[in-house]
């Protein structure tokens, strides 16, 4: 089978003797130079890799900081906006000062009302809120203590105003002291003559 071996070698040599079209090296180098320009202009794969890595790190840091802030319980604008309104039952009732007499009437009538309310079951949240404000402890005196000390706007010189001030809760000693101060301010002030003696 010497013929077969010669034939096979001949076929293999034909295949390996194939030549590229002219200018293969030039075409390869043209593409290589184009690739080199990409590198020099900063858009090479290595620079893109760096840029994407830095962007990813920034994203991770931002996500971590957001998570940290939310974990600490600090208020987030979106959370505050999306938070459901708290039940009115838990909200502190804001009351405007009412006249003492009217308040007293309401207080007297509430005993019956409360009993009536205990018997009737009310599901409405708004109605519950109204009754919750009624369940709050009532003030022993009116107005509140913080308002009691502020007496400057209440006192006048007439006896009627004095009585009104006492009725509002100010003590008689306080009224007397304030009146004394007001009368002292109304008296004329004497200024002694200033004498300057010549130097000896």
């Amino acid at each position: 089978m010497k013929d077969f071996d010669q034939l096979l070698d001949g076929v293999l040599q034909e295949d390996t003797a194939a030549q590229p079209r002219p200018g293969l090296e030039a075409r390869v180098m043209a593409r290589v130079r184009m690739e080199g320009r990409k590198y020099r202009s900063g858009f090479g794969p290595r620079n893109l890799l760096w840029a994407s890595s830095i962007a990813m790190i920034v994203c991770v840091v931002m996500a971590a900081s957001i998570w940290y802030v939310s974990d600490r319980g600090l208020p987030q604008p979106d959370k505050v906006a999306s938070r459901a309104p708290a039940p009115i039952l838990n909200a502190p009732a804001v009351e405007t000062p009412k006249p003492v007499v009217a308040r007293h009437d309401a207080h007297l009538s509430q005993g019956k009302d409360r009993q009536h309310l205990r018997l009737t079951h009310v599901d409405s949240a708004n109605e519950k809120a109204e009754h919750a404000s009624e369940d709050e402890p009532r003030l022993e005196t009116f107005p509140a203590v913080s308002q009691k000390g502020d007496v400057t706007g209440w006192f006048g010189t007439s006896d009627g105003e004095k009585l009104a001030a006492i009725a509002r809760g100010a003590s008689p000693e306080t009224v007397a002291a304030y009146q004394q101060l007001r009368s002292a301010q109304k008296e004329p002030i004497d200024i002694a003559a200033i004498e300057i003696k010549p130097l000896q």
Binding site: L7, L12, D15, P20, V28, M29, G36
Partner: protein
Amino acid sequence: MRRDDPLEREQEFSGIVERQARFMFRVAYSLLRNVQDAEDAVQEAFLKLYRGDAWRRMEDEKAFLARTVWRVALDRAPRAADRMDDVAGMELAAAGASPESHLADQAERVLLRRLIDGLPEELRQPLVLSAIEEMTSREVAVVMGIPEGTVRTRVMRARAELKKRFTGMEVRR
């Protein structure tokens, strides 16, 4: 990291392209059997090399480059194979070819080439690479990543297999 002038780098690379482009083409062609595909494989291989720095550290330049283009050609081989005629169909055509229409020698060559294409890859690759004049069996072993002794064994098995198939077809004709 080694950083130097890009132009100097380009010139250095240009020297490698001038020296080895044709050799790389033959390696790619032995697998792909198509000039256009082989040229594309060479260009792709050189671009891959240029993007990295491994080409500056290669010890055996020829073996390194042959291995690089061989891998690229292997990725393209299925696409090239799609353009090939079916080997079995060619066998039938060769068997039915009349002496009047083809020269006998030409028919034998065509048949043998098709039989080579029909070999298993583990036998065909060392056979065609060994046929490239510039490549020793050691370099073929480096390219394929197998021991040198295995290359020789596979080449012998490939030749024996081809002879068996070729003789069988000659008898049928």
